[in-house]
């Protein structure tokens, strides 16, 4: 077994075990920290797939931004008087429904991915994808890039306005 296979199976194990931790752990704080390891595992997968820029972006945006926001959300929405942090899980019925449905989805996807005859074409080997990404963002996808920038601005101003405490 080569190094690539070893790295792949380790990252896959990290991703799946920590994702199980996210959906199954009793306390929301543990879920949030499991999510950290899921994000790291996915970033490792990106590195294995020669996507260096996406891997760094994943670390900066997900781990440095989204996860911090989620942990803030977890801590700001707990009752101060409550002793333990409630996970808010639902009853046995929805647990069973969710389990059956996600097992069905997992089996369906696995069977589909194994059986479909995919069109395969290896990406050309390059030192780094950053130059190519930069060029195509500023030529072919310029409009989408600008729209995304405006969307981020609008979303963050809107979020700040919504989250502001009413002054009156």
């Amino acid at each position: 077994m080569g190094l690539f296979e070893l790295a792949f199976y380790s990252f896959a194990a990290i991703i799946l075990i920590s994702a199980l931790g996210v959906v199954l752990s009793r306390k929301m704080m543990y879920s949030a920290f499991s999510l950290l390891f899921t994000f790291f595992g996915v970033a490792g997968m990106y590195v294995l797939l020669n996507a260096d820029f996406i891997a760094v972006t994943q670390l900066m945006v997900y781990v440095g931004g989204i996860l911090v926001l989620i942990i803030f959300g977890v801590m700001l929405t707990q009752k101060i008087t409550g002793v333990d942090i409630k996970d808010g899980s639902v009853g046995k019925l929805s647990f069973a429904v969710g389990g059956i449905m996600s097992a069905f989805i997992a089996v369906f996807f696995t069977m589909m991915y194994m059986n479909v005859d995919w069109f395969l074409k290896d990406a050309p080997i390059t030192d780094s994808t950053i130059t190519q990404i930069g060029k195509s963002l500023l030529t072919e996808y310029l409009l989408a890039f600008e729209v995304a920038a405006v969307l981020l601005l609008v979303a963050f101003i809107g979020a700040a306005l919504i989250a502001r405490r009413e002054s009156n």
């Binding site: 929301m28 996406i54 700001l76 996807f109 069109f119 979020a159």
Partner: protein
């Protein structure tokens, strides 16, 4: 047998199923958001896997970047709404929130 496209796709499919499980079995809004993040990550993993093995090349990377941008915007707005709901209801159980305005 070496690692190919299918291996990455299967990991992302399992991640998607776990995200769906998290969304269905929790009623805390922030746990639902975490399940959503798992699903977005699995979609991104698919984009990058096809970029590497399926001839999508740099377009897959661009799509993944836009997914990451939208995830950042979405989680900011969603957490702002969740904090507002918490101020009004003192809880964030998604199945008990049924009023837009008091």
């Amino acid at each position: 047998m070496g690692i190919g496209l299918e291996h990455f796709l299967i990991v992302s499919g399992l991640l998607f199923a776990l995200g769906i499980f998290g969304i269905i079995t929790r009623k805390n809004a922030i746990m639902v958001l975490m399940g959503l993040e798992l699903i977005l990550n699995s979609a991104n993993l698919n984009f990058i896997a096809f970029a590497r093995y399926g001839g999508l090349n740099i377009e897959g990377h661009i799509a993944a970047i836009f997914v990451i941008i939208l995830a950042a915007a979405e989680v900011a707005v969603a957490l702002a709404i969740v904090l507002n709901i918490y101020q009004n209801y003192k809880h964030i159980n998604v199945d008990e929130i049924n009023k837009l305005k008091e």
